[in-house]
Symmetry: D2
Subunit: 493 residues, 4 copies
């Protein structure tokens, strides 16, 4: 594709798309966490771990790989005894996929062990870490997550909770933390509520905390409430305590969660993800009607939007693309010769559906554009007469610094090319995106109040970040071109 | 559930739902077979194997498990050198899941080795095996598959092809065989074409044979033709030779392939499976309209029928159930306590979609009824006001003796209960099935000619089998009740 | 090394150095077999399997690899229920290391299943197999073992035992068979008793059969007797029945078993293997005294002979070479550069022992000579002033056709070179071998009677085989040079 | 066994018997470390790891299990690029066998990463850790090893080497540290040289550091010198720098290394371990001659002492016990019933050797006495008429606080029973131990100078520790009985 601005390495954050789950006060606590994490597996497939406590000691097991691989030996789960536990599934960038980075971390102190799991990304991690190291701190992972505990220990003489509150005011960015001590479970959310976190209750009255409500459903917990920006939740023998470490808050939940990241059955801040996606499809049909014989979706994440588009447009909704159920388990990679013969293990076009037809394809997003290009080729190879590509989100033009890995601008196609240039590269007959306004309207967070952008973070499309960028600021600005700087200024003004 | 007739063990065939794939005359033959089998993995997950030949020797690798597990070590695939190969994926009943039953089998003879892969089930296997054993034959597997090669060897002095033709006239039932010798690939189909088998051609002119066309697509082969009932296909250095071992044939392709077994993108005897399913959904909507707020499908196999039902009925098509992508890899099973808490790892109901709604659920079939019961419970638990269950196929009342494992009547709910009894057990507000006539109309096999039932085997619904049942006959008749005997007689007359 | 006669491939038998173990009438039968095989693991590391019976069905598990790997999942062993079982550990040549060749084989017949395990090698296998195939037999493995069961089935109408006796008269060579049926365990030994096989009795009166007595010891069985040449042993509900299928017998137990193959604690035909080896060392010291400062052995198989040499010679017995306990588990192979740096993972010379000393090294045998050469280099590198190599067996000049894999003459150093040429290649200061006469005297089988060579097979040293060579004869004779033909004739005359 | 003093949990140190290996300035550095560790595998089988550097970054791989398991995938080793590396094999107590404790540890700092591997145990770890935690330090493992790096970071402003020297003066006990930075390799030894550590040189002039000389031999390095007590060795681009962090030193090398822990081919402080052991056997024969027919050893660690005893006593040296090569790989454990039948997987008695004989058995040590008891039973069961047990070391009566896991007094048989009581429990006809004086004389460290006990730590026998016990002192004293306190005082006076 050529062109593009060189992006300084520093602006590539060590992003962590993750899922967390915790429970306090239930039999089989670690089994419940296992099932909760199982439902959150889509949030991270590169590592998983659980720490439990029986009120005396903390027990840990973690490893790289899918949850089911990490706990392949059922004895490992049985070893995690006790009535409270937290767990984590992790997506990490490949270069640092060391077990040292797999969470929950477990820190051992003479005055009480602490386990910590984190979903999110800090924007001032580099600065904090350097300060801490200069004061003698020893880090063992690459992740931002350790920083919190070092901050806490610096003020531990004030007591754990005061030290934690102070520390939560030092870290900036997007974060949802779970902490486990032998006698309590603690959850904390960043002041913008960028990452989702919710509370549920089991039949026996005990509480669970999870990244998404789908994880409440699997353990048959009743939804209690979303954790709100700036809150500190403490769950112990006496029940649920809702506290806060700051009141300087404003909701800016990540719009990506609704677009493709969360499970369609999850409800985030009152909005069912499937419904939001279907509505994105409807509004996309209103903004960009196409003259086609059918609508098809890219399985599985785009199917909600596709059915919305079909209903609104009145076009028949067909299964023109199939996703293999078995692809993730394949170790044999096609040779170059086979790739040229068109071996696609993941997606197949349905010749009997698309041959001779004008096909509207709905996808949820474009990152690099290479997958879109393959999909268009595959459909044409299967006989499609026209291929119109419709994206149920706006173009991704700016990186995420809060924990979703679309991090470097150099990889974002829309950061460097116009929509028409993208269409040509992809080879579609037409290419259209949902507008930012329609996106906000489609999601329509009910408890957004007068927060900007309807309580959503839409910085990936506008460059308008809800927080200062701190360590990323300089590199980020350098990576913008003139036009983007103007566009950003326009948004910011 | 009580009641039901005791079913003699003998009528439980050792069914083998399988997929086969072969190629002759291409570089990387075993890699092509690997990709073909990968696409056919839905036809069998309990074992996989490939035999290749370089024109001198035959090389085999097979094991229990998914294809990707069997070939976890890429060196195993590299060892299978040569320009011709056949492969097999297998579904076997658990009691006999020995590696000795994993195909392709490889038989070593001083006058030339033979590999054999089989999809189907013989109805006179027991009789033939006993005769062969009495003549000194030594069997090493439980499967029917070995029988063919013993028959061939008894007449080997007539030459391999004549002996094979003679043997194919001795075996009865449903079968699609692939054989590999060092200098040719042979395919044969039963006289009723019960199991699907098709031929494709690669860009270099060489041929592939596969259970379904989706496996042609993945290796970029062009569809040539379906193998016809009674045909013997020989592929060698000189190309494709179409021969036959009998002319006493009549098409009776298995309707189950269209209902749920084949991949939706496959085209069988001219009919795209997705289209057939969608049409089943449409006809189901005509036969059984319901008063509901939305239609939802049971993922993934029922989604085509569901969209057909939605379009015909005008009801909105929603995502009310979600299937986990990760379930197959889970080794940890819920404790009884957790099961009672409602832990379902495979399916989740989408509360935000179904709560407070009257829901029409489309599923492709009911075997034991237990899954349907769970789905209804799950939807009600998520708040659905009414749950109407619609099945896009007729009730399964009679076993399959041709290779689909719905074998024993004792397990078939519809063999023992009325539709109303079934509705009560499942707990749905209504329960309706597609009629046999609509099923036949929905599939509408174009080259069926004047074959009964539109060229389909619908015995599972009618008891009207396209072939004599031989070894199964006595036990089968004994398992019927008076009413069924009458029903069957009626059909047969 | 150059030179040497080209050896026709045919004379390379598919040898199977193996161990067998069976039990009839005990609780935990398959566990007992597991422990028996564990003790016999030195007889074969490439595959292992067990077949058990509960009096109704036969249950099998087998796979490639060490016993502990094959039964890594304890559930596999638990599945092998019943009070009778047989097992097998296998050494196979690498080219044919398919699971199809791993024993015991299990054959399924309508009139009763049979399992079969075999230690040995047939000399007329090729001829028999060809005859059987021409009569319609279908073989699935490369091994000789299947032949027996095909022969039995040809005469099965006479009853199993008569058919078996007839069959045992058709197969020639060295063999120890174990067969398991649902109601009995059968053992049979070749007419020369070339392979060892013994019977023991458990405290509860039930019987076990094993390749070596060390396997009796581990299950706490009392030694009853060695199986004698030509015997057919039947163990059933009524106890132990000693029968024979031929009376044309003469003991010629394989001398290799005493030299290096059997475990030192086993007692074969009344001779403790350690004692025989120690005596070989003593006689070697008498035949070949050396002027040295110490005697060291090559661990572990030569340590018995070394202590014999030390005692007889009066030289101190030192630990000059160490064998790593962990070598078998290493997957990382040294790079060429590291090999040149002298990385030896298996053996290390003890510098502090050998530096500056004249060292006598006792080893049990020389096959290719490459290991001996490395040992000498290693000792010199560690500072040894002189290295005198003493071999406690005669030179291996002729292949074994009875189940020990020193099969091709092209690999036998002593088949092609004089002792002085060997010494030069190896780089030792002197090289000496035990004479055939001393070997026979050292072992001194008490029940040899007037059998030639003291009841031993010494053909590997003399070319004088105790049986006709059948299929191997032509190729073998062609591989001899003039001198050897004379030498052989001399021995034979 | 009853009786015994209750031992406070605190006196059980988290001992780490370990092996370390490092190289600086060689191609394939991580491969060299792999081979070095392979030779040191006897020092620790529960975890292994390597950290390498290419001069820019540090690369780590570590996991639980044997070295060959940890590096099963050769790609893991290839990833560890660069010309310098350190590695570690670890023995840890099972309760804390978490991967977090597997070394080398890797600490990431903005001013340069540091890897650390440690063999030994600190006696003031608890105190130091508590102090550090109170100052804000965060620990992630249970091991003592992290302490050093926290100390260093507290003084890092003084520069790394000065901070390290200061830190080495804070930690007490037995330690051998290896540290790796991107531009140098550092080694440090405690002021008493309790743990062994030596330096070698490769052909290209670069240096290696290892726990034992056997690891120098495998990579073909020439021995340079033992690291001396109190030394700090720095190896960088400019070569080898020998510095020291204290001059208050006195050699007290652990006598256990000579008795059973080190490999017999290693040379520690000028003494070949095999020779020391053989001499222990000789002196044992002088102190305790027995009237027996033969001497046998417990394989493998007692064979050197046994041959010494045999030579000195003039009794024949026989192989009366055999050790299975395959035992470590067994996952199937004998049932209670089988254990009662006498199933021993590890050791077998050689009936043909010992039956009817008076047997002298040499073993290197007795810890709990249970193994000795089994050996005596096994020999009697095999027919031995008398069994005389001779131990080539003095009775272990006091724990080791420097890194060998014979830690709690409650497990040490000799801490609670007289020799006669032990003999009765074990069931031997006689039981005798080597005296402390003879042990010292047998080892005879040449560079001991006038250090007490010939430069050896013999505290396990005498209670006379070469260092203060700090954190262990109180608990230790409490565990002594009156007599021991007197005995200790006597030694100390």
């Amino acid at each position: 594709m050529g062109g593009g601005h060189p992006v300084p390495a520093e602006i590539k954050g060590l992003n962590e798309e993750c899922g967390v789950f915790g429970v306090f006060g239930a039999e089989d606590a670690s089994q419940l966490v296992y099932y909760g994490l199982h439902t959150l597996q889509h949030r991270g497939q590169e590592g998983a771990g659980i720490v439990s406590t029986d009120g005396t000691e903390l027990y840990q097991h973690r490893d790289r790989g899918l949850l089911a691989q990490v706990f392949k030996d059922p004895a490992e789960l049985k070893r995690l005894v006790g009535r409270a536990a937290i767990g984590h599934v992790r997506y990490g960038t490949s270069g640092h996929n060391s077990i040292a980075n797999v969470q929950p971390f477990l820190f051992r102190f003479h005055d009480g062990d602490v386990a910590l799991a984190h979903n999110g990304n800090l924007t001032n991690a580099q600065t904090l870490r350097r300060q801490l190291e200069d004061q003698g701190a020893v880090f063992q992972s690459d992740s931002d997550t350790e920083i919190l505990i070092h901050l806490v220990r610096q003020h531990i003489k004030d007591g754990f909770i005061p030290a934690l509150k102070w520390s939560l005011n030092q870290v900036h960015g997007g974060f949802a933390y779970l902490l486990l001590q032998k006698d309590r479970l603690i959850a904390a959310l960043d002041p913008n509520g960028i990452r989702p976190l919710c509370i549920g209750q089991l039949a026996n009255g005990s509480y669970v905390v999870a990244s998404e409500t789908c994880a409440l459903d699997i353990v048959n917990a009743t939804f209690v409430r979303d954790v709100q920006p700036g809150e500190l939740i403490i769950i112990d023998r006496d029940g649920l305590h809702i506290d806060h470490y700051t009141t300087n808050t404003q909701l800016a939940i990540c719009s990506m969660e609704y677009i493709y990241f969360a499970r369609p059955d999850s409800i985030i801040h009152g909005v069912t993800v499937h419904n939001a996606r279907k509505q994105m499809g409807r509004l996309l049909a209103r903004e960009h009607p196409v003259d086609a014989d059918m609508v098809i979706g890219v399985p599985n994440s785009s199917l909600s939007a596709t059915s919305g588009y079909a209903e609104e447009s009145g076009l028949p909704y067909e299964m023109g693309l199939i996703k293999s159920q078995y692809v993730a388990r394949t170790f044999i990679q096609p040779t170059q010769a086979l790739r040229e013969r068109g071996v696609h293990l993941k997606l197949s076009a349905v010749r009997g559906v698309v041959a001779g037809k004008r096909v509207a394809v709905v996808d949820d997003s474009i990152v690099r554009g290479t997958t879109s290009k393959q999909i268009v080729q595959m459909l044409r190879h299967a006989g499609a007469k026209e291929v119109h590509l419709l994206i149920s989100s706006p173009p991704f033009r700016f990186p995420c610094f809060y924990g979703i890995d679309i991090s470097t601008r150099s990889e974002l196609m829309a950061a460097h090319y116009s929509v028409e240039q993208m269409r040509q590269f992809i080879g579609a007959d037409s290419l259209n995106f949902l507008s930012v306004n329609s996106l906000i309207k489609a999601i329509a967070v009910p408890d957004a109040g007068d927060a900007p952008n309807g309580g959503l973070t839409v910085a990936y499309f506008t460059g308008e970040y809800p927080t200062p960028l701190y360590d990323y600021e300089a590199g980020y600005l350098k990576s913008l071109n003139e036009q983007e700087r103007l566009a950003r200024k326009e948004h910011l003004s």
